[in-house]
Amino acid sequence: MDALFLGLTALLEPNLLILLFAATLGGVIIGALPGLNATTGAALLLPFTITMDPIPAIAILTTIYCAATFAGAITAILINTPGTSASATTCLDGFPLAQRGEAGRALGMATVSSTIGGIISVVCLMLAAPLMARMAYNFAPPEYFALTVFGISMLATIGDGTPLKNIIAGALGVLLATVGKDLLTTVERFTFGFNELSEGIGFVPVMIGIFGISELLVQAERLNVERKQVVMKAIKLPSREDYRRVWKTILRSSGIGTFIGILPAEGATVASMIGYNEARRWSKKPQEFGKGSVEGIAGSEAANNSATGGAMVPTLALGIPGSPTAAVILAGLMVHGLQPGPTMFTEQAEFAYAIFWAMLLVNVMFIFVGLFGAKLFARVTFVPVQILWPIVFTFSIVGAYALDQSMLDVFIALASGVIGYFMRRFGYSVVPLAIGLILGGMLEKRLGQSLIMLDDQWWLMFTRPLTLLFFVLTILALFGPLLWGRLKRRDPMVSMGE
């Protein structure tokens, strides 16, 4: 309990509050800018936080995460272009409402739903993360190894690629993590004589490359896309009738989003899709969906914003990222010398609770930013890409250099950008690569420790109940979607329904 209040006290410094407000504005702008999203924004801003204390540094990254996820709704509603993929379903009802001259109502609904969803998920985070950490406190290396394998197996279902390609991308990330000195034997691997590679390939340049620089190349393909904004005359808040109609949807989607967020590697995009579908399934007026239903907006936005809090649960409690942006935040924690996991809630409890409070605070700030600044932020979308992306590139390169002050990192970022572009082009999502790179070191270390602990008899891992459970979950995560698809095709009732 003390840590809860100490965390709040640490956050209530006036300078930090101003910084968090600025980060909220920055996050909203990032979410509204063409091609930028929460993950890219957090990766680009990570180098800015290296000289800060851990609390403001990680609070800024989580603020960017929440604010940019929310901001996707602004462009989704006003110009029918989701600022982030998590807001794709918001377009379905937000834009038709805006075309009918009710943009303010749609934005108001998105803001309120995002805020409530975000607050519910942070409260869940405050309750669930310490409980999960307590459960994991007695994990031995085999349990951690199996848990990390489970976390990596969840990569199969994320990103744009097929499960096989996602796992290949994740394994490539794990392979990259083996560059440098082996942790147990200190033998150098894949360093090719570069002393700078002895400590391994840094997370930051690779993330800047695959999220930032590869996006520059993607944007080069879309130079002729035109964006048209719907006129928003004044902010008209949703009516009491609207709130009466959607409160159940908001609560349901918040629960769905929080749960989806807690699952390792699943993020806001999946949450918003499920939240939207469930809103339609439970609605008394499902025929309005896709034509401007406020329930559709509420279902999508409450779910995607609540996934942010949920995603931080496994990130902080177990050290397994709950979403792509959480992976960047995890990298930020490691860069600051913090070890996410069960010990965080005993040895750095004040820090952990300060992050929770920061997330709670940013969700309250949305109300003001979302309702009063939406019109202004929508204009940000019209920043010409030929001005925006050269500036983003300059940020990316200086950011990649700044962490270790190494030109090699600059070239790693460039190479990662080109590789990331071709991966995306050929259907290999870059998100698993990033998560594999972060978890790879942990995976190898825990496998090595397990083998030492079990006297090289690796099969003994399967005799430990929790380890076995995680391996079974891994198999379900890898093959479940395939089997479920087959079963659905065989079921004549389901086929008829489809």
């Binding site: 000289t51 096989l164 290949i168 392979l175 034997t185 010409p384 030929q386 390169i397 600059v410 090595g448």
Partner: protein, 146 residues
């Protein structure tokens, strides 16, 4: 063709990496605790190769548009940046930014000046003054560092 080309490329990459991994120092058995340094990377490489074979067999081929000329131009400018950055990092950034903006259709003088002069200068001052980052010496940075 792409259906086989990309997984084949990945397999070739893995084979080369596997060969490199056979060159790692080995720890004498008496000192060894756990795995040899090459064991884990080799396991991962074998997994990637096996999965790539599965991709060849099961993956649905995707129709691809050819890479847009703007993408090749942008990648070419990465090379230009890498070369000019050897002279000075910020000179490289300025040259890259103005060339990219021009290649993407920006013709307004203020726009070109903003991306090539103003933004690199502001970013340099931010990192130098606020974050105390020391950039590599070069033609332009020497003017500041003396």
């Amino acid at each position: 063709m792409i259906r086989y080309a990309v997984p084949s490329g990945i397999i070739v990459f893995c084979l080369v990496a596997f060969w490199f991994s056979t060159q790692f120092d080995r720890v004498p058995p008496i000192l060894l605790r756990g795995m040899q340094p090459a064991d884990f990377p080799q396991m991962v490489l074998l997994l990637i190769m096996a999965l790539s074979v599965l991709v060849m067999i099961f993956d649905q081929p995707i129709e691809h548009e050819p890479v847009a000329p703007n993408v090749w131009t942008s990648m070419g400018l990465f090379v230009v940046f890498a070369l000019v950055a050897q002279v000075d990092l910020f000179l490289g950034l300025g040259v890259f930014a103005v060339a990219l903006a021009w290649a993407w259709g920006e013709r307004r003088l203020w726009g070109l000046g903003l991306v090539s002069l103003v933004s690199p200068l502001l970013i340099f001052l931010l990192f130098d003054q606020v974050f105390k980052i020391r950039f590599p010496r070069g033609l332009l940075t020497n003017l500041w560092y003396g």
